[in-house]
Structures are given as structure tokens and as C-alpha cells.
Point group: C2
Chain length 153, copies 2
Amino acid sequence: MESRIERICVEQGLKMTGQRRVIARVLSDAEDHPDVEELYRRASSLDSRISIATVYRTVRLLEERGILERRDFGGGRARYEPTEHGRHYHLIDVDTGRVIEFEGGEHDQLMARIAETLGFDLVSTRLEIYGRRQTAAVRPEAAGEAVELASPP
Amino acid sequence: MESRIERICVEQGLKMTGQRRVIARVLSDAEDHPDVEELYRRASSLDSRISIATVYRTVRLLEERGILERRDFGGGRARYEPTEHGRHYHLIDVDTGRVIEFEGGEHDQLMARIAETLGFDLVSTRLEIYGRRQTAAVRPEAAGEAVELASPP
DNA sequence: ATATGTGCAAAATGTTTGCTGTACG
DNA sequence: CGTACAGCAAACATTTTGCACATAT
């Protein structure tokens, strides 16, 4: 079946090769923020005839088309997630590398206003929180954590 | 004369070599956010007997000691600025690479509250705005712009 | 049929490191 | 005088690219 990202690629008139179809599927299925190495690993397991150069070229293409967003949470490798309309931000657990998404709320307008004040049109923003899990004793409750594993810093 | 950063180094008991003194001076005088290449260029012009490896080692050391802060505004190279107590954030002009600093205001508490809500102790935050200069016609005024030149994206 | 994409290996880029000699405290 | 630092070049990690071949439209 045609994956969500593949559908978007077709709509944009991109030539769909076998490799792109596989990478599109991997991206569509991803619920985390994989780096290129990880995308390559997942794609390879679906179809071993894929080179990492193709993964690099494909994520670059999809980013240019606005289909993917590149993230940099430190650690020197870029990570990717499908573009979502409806802003969200990221909290990164500095001990485990887990990434938790949260809604922007007031930040969006706040940043737009700052840009405006300084005489700029807002192009994009970046807001990340790096945190450490509170000890159980101190911690009241923790709901809806979009859990993901990444490499600790 | 002893530069501001050199004084801090001495206070922290760091061994002050000629090279470190020069790098400390360059950092003290910098009013922008230079990358290692640029620091190396400036340091070399003061004293040519400095290797780029030493610059890398020194900024790493100073960052570990909390004297410098590493920034990543995209473009793949780390940039540095002396630690200031009193948070500020950065707006990056996507066309020119200029960096403008602005005060955090409500963001600080807002992010602390988000971390708290998700069950985390806040370790650090990252907030950047990428913008494009408004056309003169649309633009009312623009006060106090901490101008800096960097490489366009 | 033709433009575009792919694989591979080599290059480019930014950063770190092993080793040997040097210099600060 | 001993420990930590500096210079150099080689190693490293990630990403890009040149070229010959393959494939989608």
C-alpha cells in the first residue's frame, strides 16, 4: 500500500523509484526522530539494495520540498521527522536521549511578536528544552509521554 | 593588560600559556559569535604561533568550565560566546547570517513550567528565531540591533 | 527516449587525538 | 622539575559528490 509520504511525493510530481518508496514508507511509519544512519538501517531491512548516499539525497530532497523537517538535538547528526502542520516542540531527556513532544501554546505568538518588534518577518523558530527526569519521590504524575530512544549525549 | 576571560581563567586556576592568553583576549574582545575558524584567524593575527588544534582544545576546556557557551545556529560549525549571567536569546537573519540578541522575558518561566509539567528538571533550553528583514515600507523602526556578520545559510 | 536517480568510492568538512617536544607553576 | 599544554599530522564522523550505470515517466 502507498504510504502517506509516498502519496505526498507523488502529489508533488516526484519520480518514485523503488528506493524512494521504501524510504517514504520508513518515514511514514516512524514515530520518532531518526537520524540518517537509523533510516538507512530500517530501509535496508525492507530492501537491502539501498545505499546510504541515496538516503542522504532523499532526505535532503524531501526537506527542500517541505515534506520533512530536519532537527538537530546535538550529538552531531541531523534527525528527521515528517512535517506536521500544527507546531510542536521537543523536550530531550539529557540522560537517555528520549524525546518528548509538547504543544507550543503561547510561544508561537510570543516569538512572532519578538521578530516583528525587531523588524523581521518570522521564517522559523527553534525551541527545545533539555531536562532530567525528576526523582520518583518528587514527581506527581507524567501523562502521555511520546517515548523514543536515542543516543545519550 | 589582562583580559576579562583571562582573569576568569586565572581565578579558576587554569594554567595560562601564551596561546591561552591570546585566545582569552580574542574572546573577551569578541562582540559576536565566532566559530573556531574565525577565532583561529583572529588569534593568529595577534600571535602566529597558534595552531587550530589548540583553539579547539581551548574552547572545549572553557566550555566545560562554564566560561564559554557553545551555540549552533546551523551551518555545521559550532560558535562560541562568553557566558553571560542573564539569559538572552538569538534572532538569526537567514539572508545575511546576522545575529541579534534579545531578552528572554516570559520564555524562561514558561519553559521551566513545561519541563515541570512533564516531570523533568530543567537542564537547559534553546530558543532561536530565524527571520528575514522586513521591507523598508512595512518597517516602523528597529532599535538597538547588536549587529554581527556571519555566513548566510 | 531522456531526464533523473542510484551505487560506489573518493572527497569534503568539522572536530578530535596520539605522539613528541615545550613551558607553566 | 613534573605535570599539563602545544604543534603537527593522522584519524574520525558525518555528509556530499563525480562518474558510470539503471530506471521512471
